[in-house]
Point group: C2
Chain length 273, copies 2
């Protein structure tokens, strides 16, 4: 092992790559599973093409809103729909801030303009969201509402936190990101540790992306089954297939694991073993 | 489809990613197969980490020898051994020159210093080569010999061309690279076209990396079986498994397909379908 220094942008890209390759990850795209519209190659192309935005974040150029919009625009060159929107929402402050305490300062300092740019970025993705909401990200009137209420991007995340575990990371000091990194360390190295961490988080947290798509009951059922996998009384491959057949993809936990991998890699976690 | 302009460095990285993900590719690492020492993640980490050298090539900074050494040093941060040495040997002139005619001018203009840097780069990899050779890349005396004979890197490739199909690309105007790109176009889009192109090249060209590891007879046997796969009288999965079990990995054809993908992507070939 020699070679060059690994930058924060490298680390973010390695995290995105390692997350999507790890398998079996029940319900999500992985090395061995695609969804018809979103495939392994889409995630990896997005990983490669996000580079300029990640480098800008590392150089401290641009606000959080600009960088999230930049990352979405960098990666909107394929037909695979959103692949990393939630991940960018975590990686941008983590890269800009350097570590979790730094990221907490970055998110606390966001502005109303950041919120507006975030809505613009969201408009370019095809992420599924709850409706019946004055601040619905799909509602063109929402931006006006944001300006009127003088909500910063942090305020938007605070508002979204009850329904969105990625937004919640901004509010709770990246608690699950930290927990995921700790789990990666205690699970050893390599892709087995990624899978173990995924199952552990899935066992103990209802995935809010699953709630939005399929409702609370399904999310709790997934959690219960993940616990059975963790406890060795349910087969992971069967559970994986069951989730895929039902279109249940715990995408928010995947986003958080990317952030966890980013942190763990910076702490010397060994992906390569 | 909107988003930013795709640079040459992006295209090279997408080519490396698309090649390794395509499956089944008989005998090689792919989405569904690892070798114990070299796994999918190693190829993808190398794809990500090669970025600075690829960008330097695009900006026209550095000689071919410097850039190949740079790419090897960029990517020598994992334990997976050589992953992309042959690919860099093709991508560096293709990126620097812009297209195949440009690459031909670049390789023709290489110097003795490029040759020395190439040997230095090679020393940092674990690529298997023929021995009993005054210019053996593993022989520390070879560099002295290169200087004495005033051999440029082009001369070294000319010397290596009889035993190495990647070196041969430098001499024959990137003929197989061009043929692979044409096959990609005629095979349609997406990973199916990559597999089809791999099988077609494997059917008609003895892989020189297989010759170096296993001898000519094995390489011809592989070619014959690949032809049977192409003609629909042999199952690709069984052939794949057979190659993997015997450690037969046609790595030089994989390197050439990366170069073909780089060219085809620049000509509008659709990876995303």
């Amino acid at each position: 092992m020699n070679g060059r220094r690994i930058t924060r942008a490298d680390r973010a890209q390695l995290a995105m790559m390692l997350e999507v390759c790890a398998f079996p990850k029940p319900g999500n795209v992985d090395r061995c599973h695609d969804y018809p519209e979103t495939r392994l190659e889409h995630f990896l192309a997005s990983t490669i093409l996000a580079r300029p935005a990640l480098e800008r974040a590392e150089r401290g150029e641009g606000s959080v809103g600009e960088l999230i919009l930049d990352a979405v625009e960098n990666t909107s060159v394929h037909s695979g729909g959103n692949t990393h929107f939630g991940a960018f929402l975590l990686l941008v402050p983590l890269i800009s801030g350097g570590d979790i305490p730094g990221a907490c300062r970055v998110v606390a300092g966001t502005t109303v303009d950041d919120a507006v740019l975030f809505y613009k970025a969201f408009g370019k993705t095809r992420v599924r969201v709850l409706s019946n909401d004055a601040l619905d990200v799909n509602d063109p009137g929402a931006v006006e509402e944001i300006r009127k209420r003088e909500m910063t991007l942090y305020d938007v995340m605070l508002y979204s936190a009850r329904n969105d575990m990625v937004a919640r990371e901004w509010i709770n000091g990246f608690a699950l990101t930290r927990r995921g990194a700790d789990l990666l360390h205690s699970n050893g190295g390599g892709s087995g540790a990624v899978v173990g961490t995924f199952i552990e988080l899935l066992s103990t947290e209802p995935d809010t992306f699953v709630i939005k798509k399929h409702g609370k009951d399904t999310a709790w059922e997934v959690m219960k089954k993940a616990r059975e996998v963790r406890d060795g009384i349910r087969d992971i491959s069967g559970f994986d297939q069951e989730c895929i057949d039902a279109g249940i993809n715990p995408g928010s936990i995947a986003d958080i694991i990317i952030a966890s991998l980013y942190i763990a890699l910076g702490e010397g976690w060994a992906w390569d073993c």
